[in-house]
């Protein structure tokens, strides 16, 4: 019985560890690669940073000196093979003999398998991505290739300028509205709230073309104000709904006694309701911040007009288009876009989870 229990626990933990590994490996690969030398990334897998066995050259022999005829079966260093086999490399125990080059001008390499790690780490990728420095690379054939730097710093600042107001503005507006829905009586209150609930799941695609045309009419395209308002509009229904659910559960007596003391709605809201709602505000704030920071479509549509205002997701997507195989840039760039949401997420996970519990259907 005890043995069975032990076996069950092993099975559970084993399966869990396996899943966790599968889930973490993709991110780990990106993270490790972003610190690898640009040449290494292109020629070996990122997992070569782990100890592994690799063929390493220990001696080079000249076939002519050894008097070998590539057109026959050759015997060298204790192995035997014709030219074709030697080109592939003939293994014998811990040793491999390989013919490098063509028949006439070739050489023979003797290699041994050794344990090794590829720890040629560098910060150059980040420098290039963040400082926007152009790098010149002299290729094998002597031509010089200039790789333009990626000014992710600017995009990072843009992302901040987009995300922070796009997080706080909808919360402010939604908190006022939620307060009104919860504590005030006014005509069409129920109808208005039904509209809010109905709009929870409306896909934002429906709004892009009309709003873009309004923006171009009033010259707002490509400005921060444009995207703040857009994110506010698309996040507001959920924010109002969640904050209403929270604010309406605050104790009624407390608010009524504050009223009797002569407090106005505005002071009641700013002095009591807002401070009491901090948990709900925080969880929605994290939710909205991650959503806005990670958004690509809304930025693409409303900020696309101004290249100076591009956010990190846009910049990264551009890079995948133009430097689809420059993995040293892409991995570092991707990590730059991820660093802040990951920090927020890890630091404030508890609030975020609470926000998810409260409901998370968003249009």
């Amino acid at each position: 019985m005890k043995k069975q229990k032990w076996f069950g626990s092993l099975l559970v933990n084993g399966a869990l560890v396996f899943l966790v590994l599968v889930w973490s490996i993709p991110t780990m690969g990106l993270f490790v690669s972003s610190f690898r030398d640009r040449f290494d990334i292109q020629t070996s897998g990122w997992w070569s940073v782990f100890p592994h066995r690799e063929w390493q050259q220990v001696a080079v022999l000249d076939p002519k000196e050894l008097g070998l005829d590539p057109n026959t079966v050759m015997q060298v260093e204790g192995v035997e093979g014709d030219f074709k086999q030697l080109r592939e490399g003939v293994e014998a125990g811990n040793k491999r003999v390989q013919w490098i080059g063509n028949k006439r001008l070739g050489r023979i390499e003797v290699q041994e398998q050794v344990w090794t790690v590829n720890w040629n780490f560098t910060l150059d990728n980040y420098k290039q991505v963040l400082l926007g420095r152009d790098t010149e690379i002299t290729k094998d054939d002597g031509s010089v290739e200039v790789i333009p730097g990626q000014d992710m710093t600017q995009a990072f600042l843009n992302s901040l300028a987009v995300s922070i107001p796009s997080t706080i503005i909808p919360i402010l507006i939604a908190a006022f509205a939620a307060y009104a829905f919860a504590w005030m009586t006014f005509p069409a209150r129920r109808l208005m709230f039904i509209i809010v609930v109905g709009l929870l799941v409306v896909p934002l695609q429906i709004a892009l073309v009309p709003i873009l045309s309004d923006y171009s009419k009033i010259g707002l395209n490509g400005t921060f104000l444009a995207i703040w308002l857009a994110h506010t509009g698309f996040g507001l229904a959920l924010a109002t709904y969640l904050l209403y659910n929270y604010i309406s559960t605050l104790p009624r007596e407390m608010l009524e006694s504050a009223f009797i003391d002569g407090a106005s709605h505005f002071t009641l809201f700013t002095r009591m309701v807002l401070p009491l709602s901090v948990p709900a505000l925080a969880s929605f704030a994290i939710f909205q911040f991650l959503w806005v920071w990670n958004d690509y479509l809304v930025a693409l549509v409303f900020l696309g007009a101004d290249p100076n205002n591009k956010v990190v997701t846009q910049r990264l997507a551009d890079m995948t288009g133009t430097f689809g195989n420059a993995w040293h840039i892409l991995t570092a760039g991707a990590f730059v876009t991820m660093i802040l949401p990951l920090a927020v997420f890890i630091g404030l996970q508890r609030y975020f989870v609470r926000g998810l519990m409260a409901g998370s259907v968003k249009g």
Partner: protein
Amino acid sequence: MAQLDSGGEHSASAGSRALAWLVRLFLAIIIPLIAFVVLYWGFIFLRDSDAPKWVITLVAIVWGVGGFAVLYWVFNGIVEKLPKPWSGRLLPFVFVGPAMAILTWYLALPVYRTFWLSLFARDGYPPGFSPFLPWTWPAGIQSSEFVGLSNYVTTFTEPLFQIAIRNNIMWIVFGSTLSVVFGLLVAVLADRSKFERVSKSLIFLPMAISFVGAGVIWRFMYVVRPEGTPQIGLMNAVTVALGGTPHPWDKWVEIAPWNNLFLIIIVVWLQAGFAMVLFSAALKGISEELLEAGRIDGATEVQIFFKIMIPTIMGTIITVWTTIVIFTLKIFDVVWVMTGGQFGTHVIATLFYRQSFTARNAGVGSAIAIVLLAAVIPVLIYNLRQFREQESF
């Protein structure tokens, strides 16, 4: 002016009352004015300035957040100065008005406007497109060619759209099912493990990553190199090590439509954590007595899972499922970054983008957006019905 004169001739108390009233009037006008001027300056600065980026960023944040707060403060101040019955009647609208105005402009009206747009031919915006805005469209981009439902016919008869519908169904079926299954699996496993916190955090972590970032991560997983050269993408390295041949996975057009699965995996990777967190909380809510009773009756752990746990948390499963279905229905970023819709991977949202913004065919684009909307209407009705059942509002 007349009031000032008359104030001077009367008694001191009346004079000071008039003065106080004047000051209030003055403040009521000048403070909003100052507020608006400052906000306008901020806007002009942000639009035209070439100050260092971080200065602009800082100004943008202060201006954006502060501006909205000031607007509420000003409007509230004005309404509170009004006579009592009026301020009581108007104040709720100061509170709820901005939210409703923005929701109307950004979501409610666009439903109607996009539908209207979908009935017109491609060359620009139709008359009455912005009925609530005073300005009209410049001549030249106006379209008056009403085409009725023909954009919808075009949409549904186009082979690419049929592919997109097929792919979206794959996304919905596999994306939501796999997310729910993995989420549930991890939740159940973690519940019985000592490493619950760590393992849940690690599975949850991808939720913080953007689709574009995840796109780069998985492009790197799927990188393909010619046979015989070292593979730098993990998927192909493993495949080759196991004796297979390298494939471009998500761009592997020979196995279409199944190459979509390699895109769907990315979203499962991102979303399983979300499902897991909700399931985990629901599982913890199941009473220990209920599980114990099952065990005493001799049920195996598997039976307990299927006969007790699943039925108990069915509500949560449906909620999570619906959320992910809505989410995958609108999937855009992943496909756009990974394949751009090539290799038979278009979905409705990428076709929408292509038609609306690349091909500038707003009529067909809008028709596609309406199709997206139609797909979520059942959920919308369900939400409203749920709301009506709540008695408290």
